[in-house]
Symmetry: C2
Subunit: 348 residues, 2 copies
């Protein structure tokens, strides 16, 4: 099996390295062979080629069996959102070009991390839901977008077609079938025409999944409920912009951004990445938490290669090492381990 | 001074009644005269006239000095977002027709409520910020919006002009000048053209307020920070849709939706309302928390009539009654008081 490695910017390379260690460990135990193909993306790609998602990288992505992605972004592009070329464009154009339309983000609480979450223990103990965020449509890509001629007005367009809604909805319902059998569609159908199309389309499609309960929640209400009562949720299905907001919001439940993996699934290719950013303040210091990347590797085994046992093994190793308090400084400052140490421990 | 009373649906009438009691108490102590003009809005207005914001109501709103609003919404319109006439349309068309472009929502923590918030005490103790949400522009009102001819696609348009951004930005900076002198603009300038116009326009305007610090935050990051470190914020400035989401999210800090007031300011008229909805489950049961409405009356005195002392008096009475544990059942189940009892106590 071949895996594209897009380590990207900031802490991307160092955390991805730990994930590869874990993949190698799994390969050894189960007798698999994983072949890695490195390629450039983000600020490092701009520096090298002028393009945040170079054609060579696109080719690597299209000819491998799965993609492991690190992080993107560099301070020199921050606060300059109108710069001609920006690292984030690489991310967006990769999603679009590879058709990665379904972003999947599990949200769990870890017993040992209960104390570092801003939420009370009784709220988060036992939380276990997953968000399916549409990733290649909506206001992120809709046309027209830009400025009026006199520069006085700006506009963006949010567009969705039934097909775009259906394909991710099927993924969400299929996931719910293997879980607690509940899908919550998050939208703003009391205001937006696109949200009404989501509601209509998903309601119709739900008839194919009679065992799954479907409920609806306005996004403002969902933003409250995720904090007040996160155990309410099993599978959350939502459009691109709302998903961007509520997945980041939900990440506070676990107590550390550094912990959380994600998958971006398409029809032909899929990509796996920690949800954290490039975190330039710590880059190169051997301090970043590699668990988000390591759990992304676990998701890769599960979703891209259907290697369930292998995937579980990584997850168990992560939990064991957490239970022993073997963590980087973002989790427990005292006795903090380095990125390498945590990676080695989990891999071993 | 004349005040339009739009009690609306569900618990609207019963909580508004308590707010009026408090206004009357203030009038007596300070020797003011408030004249109330009742008018219909929402589901009750649809039932009576077919229109959720009837012309008669519009006229009352335009000829009074301020508006006290209750709540809007009725279950018979829920899950039917495509119904021809819906109560929420009344709310949106009122905002637009009266030009209520700046929604102001204070977010505070109350010592006695720390225990009922889903967040840990150390996170929320001392939180004190205010959100300025643009209310008459953006994706709520932009054209074109609707369906493609074949019904396969839906679209919404987000539009902003410099003028729309400037007028609310001035309010936000003026508020910051009286507070801790910090404005955080929440946007998605790494993706949206409208957000880039916000950033550009607000950056330019900030030069008129050299004593105010301006910083920027992407909305996904803000959705995390509001929970992780709400003390970071002083004045938050944002567009309509993002404001809808983050104000509701921020409301969890106080522990109860029932507590929070809001103001919607325009150039000629202003409206004051609790942020909670019509809460039909409890309507007519004398159980709803009237404090959101009572504090809205306090905001009315402050913002519409510049009656600072009078406004403070109401706020102090609310705090006293909270400190004594004199609350409705949404706050403390044990020994819960009725809506009327809480209203009487605060007014007295
Ligand atoms: C970097 C940015 C464009 C991106 C997004 O908004 O999708 C990020 O926030 C994410 O969620 O992956
Ligand atoms: C009822 C709805 C249209 C409204 C909005 O989205 O503005 C509400 O959520 C609010 O925040 O006042």
């Amino acid at each position: 099996k071949s895996i594209a490695i897009l380590a990207g910017d900031g802490i991307g390379p160092e955390v991805t390295k730990q994930a590869i260690k874990c993949l190698d460990a799994v390969a050894e135990v189960f007798n698999h062979q994983f072949i890695y193909h490195e390629a450039l993306i983000g600020a490092v790609a701009i520096d090298a080629t002028g393009n945040p998602f170079p054609e060579a990288t696109e080719k690597v992505c299209k000819t491998t069996d799965a993609i492991l992605f690190g992080a993107i972004g560099h301070p020199k592009y921050d606060n300059d959102p109108s710069a001609k070329v920006r690292p984030e464009q690489g991310l967006l154009s990769m999603r679009k070009k590879l058709g990665l339309f379904a972003n999947v983000r599990p949200v769990n609480s870890y017993e040992v991390l209960l104390s570092i979450s801003p939420l009370k223990e009784e709220i988060i103990r036992g939380v276990d839901f997953v968000v399916f965020r549409e990733l290649t449509g909506g206001i992120y890509f809709g046309e027209p977008r830009g400025r009026s001629e006199d520069g006085d007005k700006a506009f963006d367009t949010c567009v969705y077609s039934k097909h775009e809604i259906e394909r991710i909805a099927h993924y969400a319902f299929q996931a719910a079938a293997k879980r607690r059998k509940k899908v919550t569609l998050v939208d703003k159908a009391n205001v937006l025409a696109t949200s009404r199309l989501w509601r209509e389309t998903v309601t119709k499609l739900a008839r194919q999944y009679p065992e799954i309960e479907l409920d609806f929640m306005f996004v403002d209400n969902a933003a409250m409920k995720i904090i007040q009562n996160p155990k309410h949720f099993d599978v959350v299905l939502t459009e691109n912009m709302f998903g961007d907001i509520i997945t980041d919001e939900a990440s506070v439940i676990s107590g550390s951004l550094g912990m959380l993996p994600s998958a971006s699934l398409g029809t032909r290719q899929s990509l796996f990445e920690p949800i954290h950013g490039s975190y330039p303040e710590v880059a190169g210091k051997n301090k970043a938490n590699p668990i988000g990347s390591i759990l992304s590797a676990a998701m890769l085994l599960e979703y891209a290669f259907q290697l369930h046992e292998e995937s579980n093994l990584i997850q168990e190793a992560v939990e064991k090492s957490l239970d022993k308090g073997f963590t980087t400084e973002d989790i427990f400052k005292e006795n903090a381990k380095t990125t390498e140490e945590v990676g080695d421990r989990i891999a071993s």
